[in-house]
């Protein structure tokens, strides 16, 4: 008996260790990212880094502002396309879709979520870039808009699946109340269902936004990678993530350039962490309110 209890305690100990692994890994990532990144600030001030317009590694000038603006523009562009489309699609699946259509669209969304980002990138590099070039009369289609379009497609599955869960959990009695007042389907959807599900929908949009900010491969192939301040969606640009990817190969380990690239990584890391916590708060609060 004593032996058995011993075994159980040993296993309990090991499993406890495993259960903290996610936490430990998160901590190690923070330590290594910040240890390498923050070294930059012995040379460059935080304001110069965040708001400097020039990024010239050869002269040790590291201003990340153009990358930050590109990242913001690309993300806003992606949200502009995917939020209306994603919410409509979620509403369609829950409220008006016949069974056969649902059984077609749901797997399609799952597949879309499973396609590797590099394949989205290659597709965008050949098709999206070319499609944009002609109507906008551009020298090159490699623009912020091209990156936004492909990111919009990539984050659609997240926005749809989370909004869909949230719309699904709106109590049926809300809808029935609305119909009883003589409202049409659309009036019920737009005035009752979507407003009641707004927390979950916002959570989905926030998660999608985080994904867009952090995405690298699909963006780097189509955005043109020009280190200047973009002024419109039709300019080329370079995001935080694509700058890291493109320059790490040339950066000497331990050099200021290397530290600066880690610093570029800290920005999306922190933003995405905050967004992820925000969205899980929204989702859990909604659940507890209905229970």
């Amino acid at each position: 008996m004593g032996k058995r209890l011993n075994l159980e305690n040993t296993i309990r100990g090991i499993l406890l260790l495993f259960s903290t692994a996610a936490l430990v890994i998160l901590a190690i990532i923070v330590v290594f990212l910040f240890k390498e990144g923050l070294m930059l600030f012995q040379h460059t001030s935080v304001t110069d880094f965040l708001f400097g317009h020039k990024w010239i590694p050869a002269e040790n000038i590291y201003g990340a502002f153009p990358f930050i603006v590109s990242t913001i523009l690309v993300t806003l562009g992606a949200l502009l396309i995917s939020v209306p489309l994603g919410i409509s699609c979620a509403v369609f699946l829950v409220e008006i879709s016949p069974r056969w259509a649902r059984e077609l669209v749901r797997p399609a969304i799952e597949l879309l979520a499973g396609i590797p980002s590099i394949i989205y990138g290659v597709f965008a590099l050949i098709i999206v870039v070319d499609v944009l070039r002609v109507p906008f009369n551009l020298a090159t289609g490699e623009t912020i808009l091209a990156a936004s379009i492909i990111l919009a497609i990539m984050i659609l599955p997240i926005i749809i699946s989370i909004s869909q869960d949230s719309i699904d959990s709106v109590p049926r009695i809300y809808r029935e109340g609305s119909y009883a007042m003589g409202a049409t389907d659309w009036q019920t959807i737009s005035k009752v269902v979507v407003p009641s599900a707004r927390r979950g929908i916002i959570a989905g949009v926030i998660l999608g936004c985080g994904r867009a900010i952090g995405e690298t491969m699909a963006v780097v192939l189509v955005i043109g990678n020009v280190e200047k301040l973009p002024l419109s969606l039709l300019d080329s640009g370079e995001t935080l993530t694509s700058a890291i990817l493109l320059e790490m190969g040339e950066a000497v380990i331990g050099s200021l350039h290397y530290n600066a690239l880690f610093c570029l990584g800290i920005i999306p890391f922190l933003i995405v962490l905050v967004l992820s916590m925000l969205s899980s708060r929204l989702i859990t609060k909604r659940v507890s309110r209905f229970e």
């Binding site: 959807i189 890291i244 999306p268 992820s276 899980s280």
Partner: protein
């Protein structure tokens, strides 16, 4: 003022179109890759060595590289992830620990893949250089293992939470110990969910590029050990497309990759259905 019935009709058309557009987008991406890649894909494309610096021939080294990093990632993340889920569901009550682990797993899951790349470079490639062999397949596999850990924790956790409470109580009632109950009731019943999580993690690991892009070399040779450098399907695809080396080989590689992912997704769904049907009986 538009009549409510008219706006209802217009809105419904818009909703149908939004769903249709999703299908069209998916079909155009898949269709395009299939059409462009089908010409290069063949048995010899998969089993041959590349020639002329990846411009012609096959992609065998990349396939072996992908296989190896996925195996390393899974052998790290599966025991730890499943073990963590067992602890969270069977050994503790809902409380501070479970909440913290869930937040940590969600945060880990949200971290941008290029940040994992930076971290892997600093941690596995330089800090643990003596153990991992620097920019090796082992470093790449472990970085991916860190990345898919949350997927495996969360899916196993959910699977174990759905194990019926009364069956567990019956097991204890028959005098079984905690370990026996876990082994005989919890793990078998949660098995389909756990497997689905592992397959999902596998799909994610095989499709990621950014976390391992700083750890691969483009030498067209078969990797001999996991401590040496190698190449994967995704990283090779990136170089082929970015440098414009050979779009034919690039699309052949893309088609190979997408076929693997489709098979994984399909088998995850089938397996889940199969097991849940058989267990319910």
């Amino acid at each position: 003022m538009i009549h409510p019935n008219t706006s209802d009709k217009i809105a419904k058309i818009w909703l149908w179109l939004s769903a249709l557009s999703i299908i069209l987008v998916l079909l155009s991406i898949l269709g395009y890759v299939f059409i462009m890649g089908a010409g290069s894909l063949s048995v010899s494309f998969i089993l041959d060595m590349p020639t002329n610096n990846w411009r012609e021939g096959g992609i065998l080294p990349a396939i072996i590289g992908s296989l190896l990093v996925v195996i390393i990632a899974l052998s790290f993340a599966t025991p730890i992830g499943v073990g963590a889920a067992i602890y969270l569901t069977e050994f503790t009550k809902e409380g501070r620990l479970t909440k913290t682990v869930r937040i940590a797993a969600d945060s880990l899951n949200a971290i941008p893949s290029i940040v994992f790349g930076l971290f892997g470079l600093a941690f596995f490639v330089f800090y643990l250089k003596d153990y991992t062999g620097g920019p090796s397949l082992l470093s790449a596999g472990l970085t991916l293992g860190f990345m898919i850990l949350p997927t495996i924790i969360r899916t196993s956790d959910v699977a174990m939470r759905t194990v019926s409470f009364s069956e567990k109580m019956e097991s204890y009632g028959l005098g079984a110990t905690k370990l026996q109950t876990i082994k005989n009731i919890v793990l078998p019943e949660a098995f389909p969910g756990i497997i689905t999580g592992i397959i999902l993690g596998m799909g994610r690991a095989i499709g990621e590029t950014a976390p391992i892009i700083f750890m691969v070399s483009l030498n067209p040779v078969i990797p001999k050990t996991i401590f040496g450098s190698g190449n994967t399907l995704t990283t090779q695809l990136y170089y082929l497309a970015m440098e414009g080396i050979s779009m034919d080989v690039a699309f052949g590689t893309a088609l190979t990759l997408i076929t693997i992912i489709l098979i994984l997704n399909y088998s995850a769904r089938k397996m889940n259905n199969y097991f849940s049907r058989n267990l319910r009986r």
